[in-house]
């Protein structure tokens, strides 16, 4: 027996988990444990429980379901298919029920009698679920390259499906298809912003979600391309109608979240909604308001994008936890607002310039004089740049240039010891840096402020107010060149 025993045992010993298999298995279990923590440690358990549940089902936010038919499906799952299917909804990679969630529940839901438009929405939802799962694993350092590849693939698959849905929709209703396109592109945009925010938060330049990020960027690019190809579509009236729907929905959402959200959040969202409404109004009042006119349609397209993103922010806790509202919806003034802003800034600079040149001619200090000269050169250059950019409607750079010019003018004025109203102070310039000039240095990080405070010409104008310190890159959608 002994020999038989040892021989058999030795042979069997050759069967073992490879290092990779074991590591994978351990990770799966870790994930499982995180998702089903011990009930004893109440505070820790609760927070992870909440976060995990919402991550697994990003549609749940402030108690609201994003998809209108969501509750119907839940009932369907629970009664017809049994509790396993229902419980599987919470599954994450690593759970035994996860395949049920992805391959059964989601497929079932997609196969329900959804309108083509809803089908596109659903593919978009599936895509963001996969990414949310990946981001969750990534945040815990458990994202395997294998799974990342799967998610990148899922991005491609669901985007293809969405595009197919849009193409199908185009057969019956080209305008609705075009709208679906815009909404889908916005959804991709949101995902991409979240991944970027993650990266920034982690402080790494390359990350394990790179594949996913580039898959999204690719899809976004394709979406934008096909959007620019369809011209004349959607029509102004159609766009208006759809935006009406969406803004109403956003208002309703806002009303329902008011009891739960913070004041700041509510204020921000309201401000964005105002912004959007103003845009819509502007589109209606432009001189050429025919159905095919380009400018108002561009405005409305932008308005729709922003509304989509706003709704995503309100309905998806995942989005809210990753990005701030200003990162998602960068500050944006209408063209008119920008024009007004730029004009007033330039006027201010020119006034300052006059008083500067006046002051320097009476100054006896040669060193100051030469400094001023250099400063004025720079200022003139900036003003010129601002003008050319404004003419070619590059509003943000124009505004930035004008603002920079204003800052230089301030510095020069301080150097010469003259106050804004032109009178000189008795003392020669001191190197005391005026607090006003440093405070205006935050001016470039603009925010969708009320827009009305920008007319002031005083140098203390801390440009639009309630800045929630939005340090993110503020490229309005129109300017993005990815």
């Amino acid at each position: 027996m002994k020999q038989f025993h040892s021989q058999l045992k030795k042979k069997a010993a050759s069967l073992k988990l490879s290092a990779i298999e074991r590591a994978d298995l351990r990770e799966r279990l870790h994930t499982y444990i995180e998702y089903h923590p011990m009930p004893d440690s109440v505070p820790a358990a609760q927070s992870t429980e909440v976060a995990s549940e919402s991550a697994a089902t990003p549609t749940r936010a402030w108690g609201i379901s994003i998809l209108r038919f969501g509750s119907l499906v839940s009932v369907l799952m629970l009664t017809v298919l049994g509790s396993v299917s229902y419980v599987a909804e919470q599954a994450v990679p690593g759970d035994a029920l996860y395949p049920i969630k992805v391959q059964f529940n989601e497929e079932l839901r997609g196969g329900l009698a959804l309108s083509p438009y809803e089908k596109v929405e659903w593919e978009s939802e599936r895509l963001s679920r996969r990414i949310a799962e990946a981001r969750l694993l990534e945040s815990e350092g458990k994202l395997t390259p294998a799974f990342e590849e799967k998610v990148a693939q899922a991005v491609r698959t669901h985007s293809d499906a969405a595009r197919a849905g849009i193409a199908a929709l185009r057969e019956s209703d080209a305008e609705e298809a075009a709208i679906a396109e815009i909404v889908f592109a916005s959804a991709l945009d949101v995902q991409s912003t979240m991944l970027t925010a993650d990266e920034l938060a982690r402080g790494t330049t390359s990350s394990s979600t790179d594949d996913i990020a580039s898959a999204i960027a690719e899809q976004w690019r394709l979406a934008i391309e096909s959007q620019t190809k369809s011209d004349g579509v959607p029509s102004l009236s159609r766009l208006r109608a759809h935006i009406e729907l969406e803004t109403t929905r956003a208002q309703e959402l806002l009303a329902s979240i008011k009891p739960y959200a913070t004041e700041q959040e509510i204020a921000d969202i309201e401000r964005h909604l105002e912004n959007i409404n103003r845009k819509v109004a502007a589109a209606s009042t432009t001189t050429d308001a025919t159905n095919e006119a380009e400018e108002p349609r561009t405005l409305l397209r932008e308005a729709l994008q922003r509304t989509s993103k706003l709704i995503a922010f309100m309905t998806d806790i995942d989005v809210r936890e990753t990005v701030t509202l200003s990162e998602l919806l960068p500050a944006e003034y209408t063209s008119e607002e920008y024009e007004a802003l730029i004009d007033s800034t330039v006027a201010e600079v020119e006034t300052a310039r006059t008083s500067i040149t006046a002051a320097v001619s009476t100054s006896t200090d040669s060193e100051i004089a030469s400094q001023v000269e250099i400063g004025l050169e720079e200022l003139d250059e900036l003003l010129e740049r601002a003008q050319t950019q404004q003419e070619s409607s590059d509003y943000l750079p124009a505004f930035t240039a004008a603002n920079d010019a204003r800052m230089i003018a301030n510095d020069l004025r301080n150097l010469l010891g003259i106050t804004p109203d032109g009178t000189s102070t008795s003392t020669a310039s001191t190197t005391a840096t005026s607090t006003t000039s440093t405070s205006t240095s935050t001016a470039t990080t603009t925010d969708a402020g009320a827009g009305t405070t920008t007319e002031s010409t005083s140098t203390d104008a801390t440009v639009p107010t309630s800045t929630p310190a939005a340090v993110g890159t503020n490229t309005p959608p129109a300017e993005r060149e990815e």
């Binding site: 021989q7 058999l8 069997a12 988990l17 279990l29 011990m38 004893d40 440690s41 035994a96």
Partner: protein
């Protein structure tokens, strides 16, 4: 108040013990699973399910004093479920009736099992393990690979120690038969080759 200080520690303690059990037993459990279901991927899943069930058990407020028998028990049940899910081979069905006959006196004696085993090459036995019906394979693996004692096995599979002995005996006998049949077949092949040359 005195309780509060411990709750987080207790939870952390559970987790640590659990993970330690994972590190200790994952290999052995995997090996057992693979030998039983002959499917590596499936085996990994079974091991995962075993541990996650154990975790669920802990979460339910129960304590696990000795992980090893607990884990083996869970795994074994999962493997049985696995078999039920798969189509029953006619041989397995045949074996169901085996318990009625508690085995001849010869089969109950440890010494005869020993003698029998002495005639078998363990390496060859390993190769033909998957030809055994699961009932016999189970006990052979538990006895010779997992090295559980007869009592432990009987507790695990919930059969009497007699039944365990009988099954081991019959399993060994079958192994020998299969090995002999195989070498015979190989002989015949070589023979036929030679005659054709």
């Amino acid at each position: 108040m005195p309780h509060r200080k411990n709750t987080a520690d207790v939870a952390a303690g559970h987790k640590a013990r659990f993970l330690k059990a994972f590190d200790e037993y994952n290999d052995a459990l995997f090996r057992h699973a693979v030998l039983r279901v002959s499917d590596r991927e499936r085996a990994v899943d079974l091991v995962h399910d075993t541990f996650s069930k154990a975790w669920t058990y802990l979460r339910g407020g129960h304590t696990i004093d000795a992980f090893r028998p607990f884990l083996y028990k869970v795994l074994n049940n999962l493997i049985i479920d696995e078999y039920r899910r798969r189509s029953e081979s006619s041989l397995d069905a045949l074996m169901e009736g085996e318990g009625v006959d508690e085995g001849s006196f010869e089969e109950l004696r440890e010494s005869t099992a020993e003698a029998l085993a002495a005639t078998i090459d363990g390496r060859q036995a390993f190769e033909v393990l998957d030809t055994l019906p699961d009932q016999y394979r189970e006990v052979i693996i538990l006895r010779f690979v997992d090295e559980l004692g007869p009592r432990e096995i009987s507790e695990l599979i919930e059969e009497s120690e007699n039944t365990v002995s009988v099954r081991i005996h019959r399993g060994l006998a079958m192994l020998r038969k299969h090995i002999e049949a195989e070498s015979l077949a190989r002989e015949e092949q070589r023979e036929s080759k030679r005659t054709h040359e």
